[in-house]
Amino acid sequence: MTTPSPSWVADPTIEVRAVSKWFGQKVAVSDLTCSFGPGVTGLLGPNGAGKTTLLRMVVGLLSPSDGTVTVMGRDPRHSPEVYRSLSMVPEEDAVYGFQTARQFVGYAAVLAGAGPGSVERAIATVSLGDAADRAISGFSKGMRQRAKVAAALVNDGPVLVLDEPLNGTDPVQRAHLIATFRRLGAEGRTVVVSSHVLAEVERLADRVLAIVDGKLAAAGDVAAIRRAMTDIPYRVRLEAAEPRRLAAALLESGVVESVTVRGHILTVETADLTGLGRSLPPLARSLGTRLSLFEPEDLSLESVFRYLVRGR
């Protein structure tokens, strides 16, 4: 498939085609088509949106009710060999409390047939060296998360699927893990990270797929997703010496839909951000006023996500 769609990448390692999954009467994922390639892709959505169901289908823990999923050209449900290339950090606490972190990662290494040195390398990657010989049962949530990530990294595969990997981590651990995932993505690995925490996805991923109610709501980079929301006006903050005259001129030009003035700050809403950017300098010049601020107010994932959820 070479559909020129933002949900599809040029060189996919994971292909999800027209996939649906239902549990009894409940539809968890509905006719979803997307792909993942090298680099970090964020899977964004509120709790219950279908992110975990999608990821579990990608790794073969769940079978699609309809559609197909392939990883590196193979169906993970029927080709356990694909797990030499594919690793997952599941959302649940998939750790053995009676093992130490080193034993846990070592167990993963033996089961994956990983080479010598892989255990120490994986432990070092998540900075768990100091606690590696302590029982996991005594670990904090964040440390357990890191142990799970180390176990997933141990086979050094090209595809890494992470379901809410930053849950329970403290800010320092989070920053470290985000840097690790970004580095893995930069090395050419396909890294898929799900999260309902928007700021995390924004920091983690170059590309974002937003899922709402089991459907793909938007795909692309943050700005592209925002541009896709053509029916939702952009909010831009402007600061001008003569705000009321500028407001009147903007409304007259038709390039903005509304303007709110508070002191020297104008908050304008427009469906045509490019048009506003183009027409604003000559307009200001013609009024003889000086612009000291042009700031799109809501180009964050938080606002995009709010729109996506609100629109349904």
Partner: protein, 249 residues
């Protein structure tokens, strides 16, 4: 092979490492304690044999063996699913049959650690008291075969349902202890009697004491071994299929 051994070791540690091993180990020794108590009043070897094959064997095969097999058999995969670690082993490049076989072997060895030690203690008490060592090997084979059969069935059950222990108890005490004892012809499909049949085949003198329990089962070790192995292979194949096709929610 390394992966198989690692799975086996982790399964044994998982099953034998918890607190449940203490009551199970004590339960495993119960038949031996009963043998000690009963033999204290016996003066003859013939009487001792009769006593040995009465309450202690009954307690071992009707209570200890099914309960231990159920706990370990159902727990081998059931615990992994409950603890969320099933995905950890499934997301590895391993044949599903290897996972199933390692889990079955782990559960069987854990069960043997309880019932095998208990059975050995029973026979050792008889041997020390009356120099009758003829029951030791056959009894160990018998508990090995019955527990392999039970564990095979309970392994599948433990993966299929979270109510495996409840269903297993009903099976063990209503079907195995009740129905197959009450209806003689049903004894041939009893898992417990696979081991007892082998025991009766190897210790002919025991048949007189076990006739009622054996029902329609023909004593003999070869058939019993074959039966237990077939059940184990079917269980591995079933679990491998389930691991391959069943969703892990």
């Amino acid at each position: 092979m390394r992966a198989f051994l690692a799975l086996l070791a982790a399964t044994l540690r998982q099953l034998l490492g918890g607190r449940r091993i203490i009551p199970l180990a004590l339960m495993g020794l119960l038949p031996a304690v009963v043998v000690v108590a009963l033999l204290a009043q016996e003066r003859t070897a013939v009487g001792a044999r009769e006593v040995f094959h009465d309450a202690p064997v009954t307690i071992m095969f009707f209570i200890v063996l099914p309960v231990a097999s159920l706990v370990f058999g159902a727990g081998a995969l059931g615990d992994e699913r409950r603890d969320g670690t099933l995905s950890f082993i499934l997301l590895r490049p391993l044949p599903r049959s290897l996972l199933a076989a390692a889990k079955l072997l782990g559960a069987w060895l854990a069960t043997l650690a309880v019932v095998g030690v208990g059975a050995a203690c029973m026979s050792v008490v008889l041997g020390l008291r009356f120099s009758d060592w003829g029951t030791l090997g056959p009894l160990l084979l018998a508990v090995a075969l019955s527990s392999l059969s039970y564990v095979s069935v309970f392994l599948v059950l433990g993966y299929l349902t979270q109510r495996a222990v409840l269903i297993g108890l009903v099976y063990a005490f209503i079907w195995e202890s009740g129905m197959t004892t009450a209806v003689t012809s049903l004894a041939t499909v009893s898992l417990m009697r696979i081991g007892l049949g082998a025991y009766a085949g190897l210790v002919p003198a025991s048949r007189v004491y076990l006739t009622d329990i054996l029902g329609a089962v023909q004593p003999g070790a070869d058939g019993a071994v074959a039966k237990a192995l077939v059940i184990a292979v079917l269980a591995v194949a079933s679990v491998a299929g389930l691991l391959r096709y069943r969703d892990v929610a």
